[in-house]
Amino acid sequence: MANETKKTSTPLLDELEKGKWPSFVKEIKKMADKNPRAKDLLGQLEQSYKDKVTHWKHGGLVGVRGYGGGVIGRYSDSPDKFPNVAHFHTIRINQPSGWFYTSKALREICDVWEQHGSGLTNMHGSTGDLVLLGTSTDNLEPIFTKLTNKGWDLGGSGSVLRTPSCCAGPARCEFACYDTLNLTYDLTQAYQDVLHRPQFPYKWKFKMSGCPNDCVASVARADMSIIGIWKDDIQVDQEAVRAYAKSGVDVQSEICDLCPTKCMSWDGKDLKIVNKWCNKCMHCINAMPKALRPGKERGAAILIGAKAPILQGAQMSSVLVPFMKMEPPYKELKDLVEKIWDFWGEYGKNRERIGELIQRVGMGQFLEALEIEPKPQMVANPRTNPFIFYEEYFEEEGEQK
């Protein structure tokens, strides 16, 4: 690899060193001083800023032995000008549940990456991976070996299970209705094979949020969104409610009036909740966490089908199982997941996400195939059109069709 580290002139990017928000240009520049890949990235990026187009070529399949994903191949369209980013592949490292780290663990990764790559990272990618940003093909195996030896493995890319991710959950949040970290770890381990070797029609994402605040945005971007909820009554500490009121919270207008189901009332002394109407929106609990807690009978709602807009418009996940207990070994959940994957494997077209498949075959058909009971929680409203595919009809006695 060429090792010229003389300064690149980047008048456009330099503008992005100004301002108070920490600058990614500074991050690149600092590495550029010692890392030729970073230096050429800077140069090529400046070129893009001039030309207003990307200078990466289309695609490129690379990877590590025995894995079908985890590396995004990338090649410069100007390798002559920027030889150190002629290859500039990204490695996706499966982050630990909830993005909790020790400094020791992070340093180990930094050391490997400084040696074998650009020294630049994304902490993290939008799917959740720890993204190592740019190296050449010959470094992939060494990096892989070194990292696995430190206990790290690759994340997903292509038609595989993508790195599941979860919110801080019970580790650092009082709202968690199930153990998001444990479930994420468990599923990731249980499904290593489909995470690393493409066996699906397209990608599959799991995201686990401990409560309906959905701090990993699972409803927007996971094929299966597992969102903690509770079944019984919100736990109320009336004394603490009064304390909030005293401290200036207008319980009527800020809490009761904003409750979407209007199931709360406040007489200046007690907060009453008609729990049978509560739709678990979290607002009151969010606003007065010292006074209110989710109920005790906890589990999760399973929603299915979110994805980005290509090709039929973005979808959010929608309710598949209104309530499921979420306890190791998560057998009920795994049975469900595997049943869905089987169905998807059989009926899904190439590059068809599960949400698209469900739309294509119809939710009713999908439920029936999976032997899941239809429930009114699944719909915002029942159908408005009368085009019902009634499935059976009577024939006249002795009739022959």
């Binding site: 893009s48 990307t54 780290y101 979290m282 418009g313």
Partner: protein
């Protein structure tokens, strides 16, 4: 290639188990948290049923960070947090402290290093974003550059908690929407506006039937040009989704004169009060104007400011617009309403106003 011994090579081990990365106070109080408070912008305290407390200091990050920055963060974690830290779902760094008295010294060091502390509560936190020109092959704009320019302008909203509610911004550099901008309070989305070019070597690198099938609007048809099998694009039918380029590298859409940015508003993810909502089109197109995209920065800032002034406490952008109605949103922000705002895709009919509920 560096030689690797077979016995060193392990596969399918998955990520390290999370429990080894949990601060002892967290480990002890796992699942026992009782409540939290926002001590001040960027600082949370979580209090356990056991009475234990863990403090969190949230540091803003550009997400694209180098190993030295990670090491700097590690140093701080060692010094203040017994070596424990985490990252958030929006790419900020969170330092986890058992000792309240270390908060301010930590913040001082963070800020001395040029990073802000904030992003909690009714603030604008980090912008979820994507690769852009830094690493992707399909972008219609850059990601990190716009994020930097916008966050510079919104910096105070990160450091304070003076908004009516949380305001979440996301950016995606093409319609693949890796930034999942479709459910954001404000979304910045790169858009192409010129139909794909057809490179002369198309027949050598793409399968023509697959390429034709890639187009959701049926704009692509097989063609023969100068005796060579290729495709042609009915430009009237193209809505610039880029799926053809994803499937066939010989159909690039990137175009310096026409690529740019669209702005979307009113999405949300949480179930708090209102169910999750999609983002809706606010501005169909703003030019790519690197390095600092002033049109985009101003557009975002304008929306934030109008919202900040008019919305009620707890009202997310989408809830605010639902209350005031779209006519007021457009008149208050001064954004022009055009035919592009009116949906003409699959579910168009479900977005029309079938009532007399509107203001004039």
């Amino acid at each position: 290639m560096e030689s690797v011994q077979a016995e060193q090579r392990r596969t399918d081990i998955g990520p390290p188990k999370y429990d080894q990365f949990l601060h002892p106070v967290i480990k002890k109080n796992y699942g026992k948290w009782k409540y939290h408070e926002i001590v001040k912008p960027g600082v949370l305290v979580h209090v356990s049923d056991t009475g234990d407390k863990i403090y969190t200091v949230r540091m803003g990050s550009p997400r694209l960070i180098n190993v030295d920055t990670i090491r700097m963060v590690c140093d701080l974690a060692d010094k203040y947090c017994e070596g424990y830290l985490r990252f958030t779902s929006r790419h900020n760094v969170e330092f986890l402290l058992a000792d309240q008295s270390k908060i301010d010294p930590l913040i001082n060091e963070i800020e001395a290093n040029g990073y802000p502390v904030g992003g909690t509560g009714k603030s604008i936190t980090n912008i979820v974003h994507t690769q852009g020109w830094v690493h992707c092959h399909t972008p219609a704009t850059d990601a990190s550059g716009i994020v930097k320019a916008v966050m510079d302008e919104l910096y105070d909203y990160f450091k304070t908690m003076k908004l009516p509610a949380k305001l979440r911004i996301a950016l995606a550099c093409c319609l693949n929407m890796c930034g999942a901008v479709h459910c954001s309070d404000i979304a910045i989305l790169g858009v192409h506006r010129r139909p794909p070019k057809i490179l002369p070597n198309l027949n050598k690198i793409c399968e023509i039937p697959t390429t034709v099938a890639a187009c959701p609007t049926g704009a692509i048809a097989p063609a023969v040009v100068d005796g060579v099998q290729t495709v042609e694009v009915n430009e009237e039918k193209c809505m610039f989704c880029g799926n053809c380029y994803t499937m066939c590298p010989a159909m690039p859409l990137a175009n310096s004169l026409n690529d740019g940015v669209s702005i979307w508003v009113g999405g949300k993810v949480s179930n708090a009060r209102h169910a999750p909502m999609f983002s809706k089109l606010a501005i169909p197109y703003l030019p790519n104007n690197p390095p600092r995209w002033p049109e985009v920065v101003n557009a975002v800032k304008n929306i934030v400011e109008v919202y900040a002034k008019d919305a009620k406490k707890y009202e997310r952008v989408g809830e605010w617009i639902e209350r005031i109605g779209w006519p007021r949103f457009f008149s208050m922000t001064g954004i022009e309403f055009t035919k592009y705002h009116i949906d003409d895709y699959r579910f168009a009919a479900t977005t029309f106003n079938t009532s007399t509920h509107f203001t004039l």
